[in-house]
């Protein structure tokens, strides 16, 4: 049976609703207190921040149902702080507090912390974050030696069936794939993006603004090259059985910043596995309805901080059947292949004239973001995150 790791979006109703509707399909929830001393994969805002007693109430409920809450500390940019005694003391104190609250599993992305945590708290289960970019059996084996108990494999493996099959043949470890994030193949921005999020979601001395810099690159490259949608790493609901056939039954659904309604709909669609049109609605990058209530700047292209509606063109995405993507012969080298381009011609409704307009809009916006007035405005007031509205 398909099992999901579900994103905790800060809404207790989501836990209740999802347990009631889909309890049998839930392997775990993942999330954090919103902001802590260590940072994770989502830049949070105040409306997600939870107190320990709120987390405790969730954990009591989940532990009674036999479902884990996986506390996420997947900040890739610890900047060597992890080697200091002060950090280690603080970290241990925090982890012990989590354990006392009822946490049995943490997601980590720093190799040093994985080993350190396993040494200090051998009973605590460690989940390897997708941010570790585990793309081969050798890398997974390395993490197993460090002490992980499960892993979320990297997006780049999603259309590499040869390696997925190879990995599954080597281990029975709980392995998860993320199906509903439209990840650019071999994304050159991931390193920056994950560090930016990690840094923004931890307490630090300097207040820094969150800036949708990397998200915009990702969206804009698809404005320029629609084929990046199909060469991107995501799994259409109807293709889920292909992964289950080769031994991948656990899927981690995004997004922690999405509304309860949106996540519930995504679960339903991924369980039914029949939806073949309007797939953009279930992809975190395009479709997610955000629960962020932070101020966002609307307005003219030449003035707004992130005029999302003028920068991000959302195409209609349909399922395209393609046997090659799911064969062991599919390689990572797209240079001489036109398959995804042909898929884009067939599966996308992406009005050409609008696309040109959005490319131009992005060009104009990009010419502003490296100027001092933009940075000044970015730092004004309480706007901490300008990505969603």
């Amino acid at each position: 049976m398909i099992k999901f790791a579900l994103p905790y979006n800060g809404d207790m109703d989501f836990i209740d609703q999802s347990l009631y509707m889909y309890g049998n399909y839930i392997e775990s929830y993942f999330g954090n207190l919103g902001i802590d001393d260590f940072g994770g994969g989502r830049a949070q805002t105040q409306n997600i921040v939870k107190q320990e007693n709120e987390l405790k109430a969730i954990l009591d409920k989940l532990n009674a149902a036999g479902i884990d809450f996986n506390y996420v500390i997947n900040n890739n940019g610890l900047m060597n702080e992890e080697f200091t005694e002060k950090y280690q003391e603080r970290y241990l104190r925090f982890i012990n507090k989590l354990v006392d609250l009822g946490i049995r599993k943490v997601t980590l992305s720093n190799p040093y912390l994985i080993r350190y945590t396993k040494q200090k708290l051998p009973d605590l289960k460690i989940s390897a974050s997708v941010n570790l970019k585990t793309r081969s059996w050798e890398e997974l084996e390395y993490l197993i030696h460090l002490g992980i108990d499960e892993a979320t494999l990297h997006y780049d493996l999603i259309k590499n069936f040869a390696e997925l099959i190879r990995i599954r043949s080597k281990t029975d470890l709980l392995l998860k794939l993320i199906p509903n994030d439209l990840y650019i193949s071999n994304c050159p921005w991931q390193k920056g993006h994950t560090r930016m999020q990690g840094s923004h979601s931890k307490h630090k001395e300097t207040k820094t603004p969150y800036f949708s810099y990397y998200r915009n690159k990702c969206v804009n490259i698809r404005n320029l090259r629609p084929e990046e949608i199909y060469s991107g790493k995501w799994i259409a609901p109807a293709d889920i059985p292909k992964y289950m056939e080769i031994g991948y039954k656990n899927f981690k659904l995004l997004d922690r910043l999405a509304t309860t309604e949106w996540i519930m709909k995504s679960i339903e669609i991924y369980i039914e596995q029949s939806r073949t049109t309007h797939l953009e609605e279930i992809l975190g990058t395009y479709g997610s309805k955000s629960n962020i209530r932070a101020a966002v700047s609307d307005g003219p292209l030449e003035q707004a901080l992130y005029p999302r509606d003028q920068l991000e063109l959302i195409p209609e995405i349909s399922q395209v059947e393609n046997k090659l993507w799911y064969s062991a012969d599919h390689t990572d080298n797209c240079t001489h292949c036109t398959l995804c381009r042909r898929a884009a011609d067939k599966g996308l409704i992406y009005p050409e004239e609008k696309r040109e307009q959005y490319i131009e809009n992005n060009r104009r916006w990009q010419s502003r973001i490296t100027k001092l007035p933009y940075i000044k405005e970015l730092n004004l007031g309480e706007v901490q995150r300008i990505e969603y509205k």
Partner: protein, 268 residues
């Protein structure tokens, strides 16, 4: 014809040597990345603005500004202004190139300083795939990007040739003397340590890490003989002069297998 990126040593014999096609890597002690472990360790190798001005008349200088992550401080007004001040100081003191890896700073250089300084993209950006060219395709302007120092984790000869064809006018530069790993976790943590902030424990952990992970590291295999059309990077700020000098001789004598990895010496 390729060029050669080498560390700068304030030494007459070195400075008087052949300089055609050479770019010398150096930095000032005080800049926005002064807390970086690598640059803190190598602070004795920094030069003064006056020295830069005097050398830049005879030699091409490249400023090492390739700390990747600044904890988002580059987006604060203070951070942005500091970075711009650093860039303007490089330009004023005769630097022709800047080695840089932070995506936003690359875009800043391309948008605001394209006429004043040329960009060499550091291997810290991890450009190691033909598809990585999309990074540059979305920028408004890439006219001042001269080279990309390719990251060699997971990158081998065949893919490198593919990259050379794909990247066209942007030259690819090959580091010949650094530790490379095809294990992403090993490779990334290694770079995180070098380009993280300085503290008293890092060096000890780094040395231990290199020893523990020795079997995951390898030498470069992108080039097996000296090719004048390829650009190379040898050495690093902070490594003793003799090592890159020796490695340079090996390169020019087409003895690439003799080139010694510098990372084992860098942290002694």
């Amino acid at each position: 014809m390729g060029e050669m990126l080498l560390p700068l040593y304030l030494d007459e014999s070195f400075m008087d040597s052949e300089s055609e096609g050479r770019i010398y890597l150096t930095r000032f002690e005080q800049d926005f990345q002064k807390d970086c472990f690598l640059f803190h360790e190598a602070r004795d190798y920094a030069i003064s603005p006056e020295e830069a001005r005097s050398i830049s008349g005879r030699h091409q200088l490249c400023y090492a500004y390739d700390m990747f992550h600044f904890e988002n401080r580059e987006f604060t007004v203070e951070g942005y202004q500091e970075i711009c001040k650093d860039i303007e100081s490089m330009i004023d003191n005769g630097f022709k190139y800047i080695l840089v890896s932070n995506p936003y700073i690359i875009e800043l250089l391309c948008n605001e300083y394209s006429k004043d300084i040329r960009v060499i993209v550091s291997s810290q950006l991890e450009i190691n795939h033909a598809h990585s060219k999309i990074f540059f395709d979305v920028l408004n302007n890439t006219r001042n990007i001269s080279y990309i120092v390719v990251s060699q984790n997971h990158l081998h000869k065949q893919e490198f040739e593919e990259m050379r064809r794909t990247f066209g006018s942007i030259g690819l530069m090959v580091e010949l003397d650094r530790l490379i790993s095809d294990n992403q976790i090993v490779h990334e943590q290694f770079n995180n340590m070098i380009y993280g902030y300085y503290n008293d424990s890092v060096k000890c952990h780094l040395k231990e890490y290199i020893e523990e992970n020795r079997r995951y590291f390898r030498k470069q295999d992108l080039v097996d003989q000296f090719d004048e059309n390829i650009s190379y990077k040898l050495g690093e700020i902070g490594v003793e002069k003799e090592l890159p000098e020796k490695n340079l001789k090996h390169l020019l004598n087409n003895e690439l297998e003799e080139i010694q990895v510098i990372d084992y010496d860098l942290w002694q």
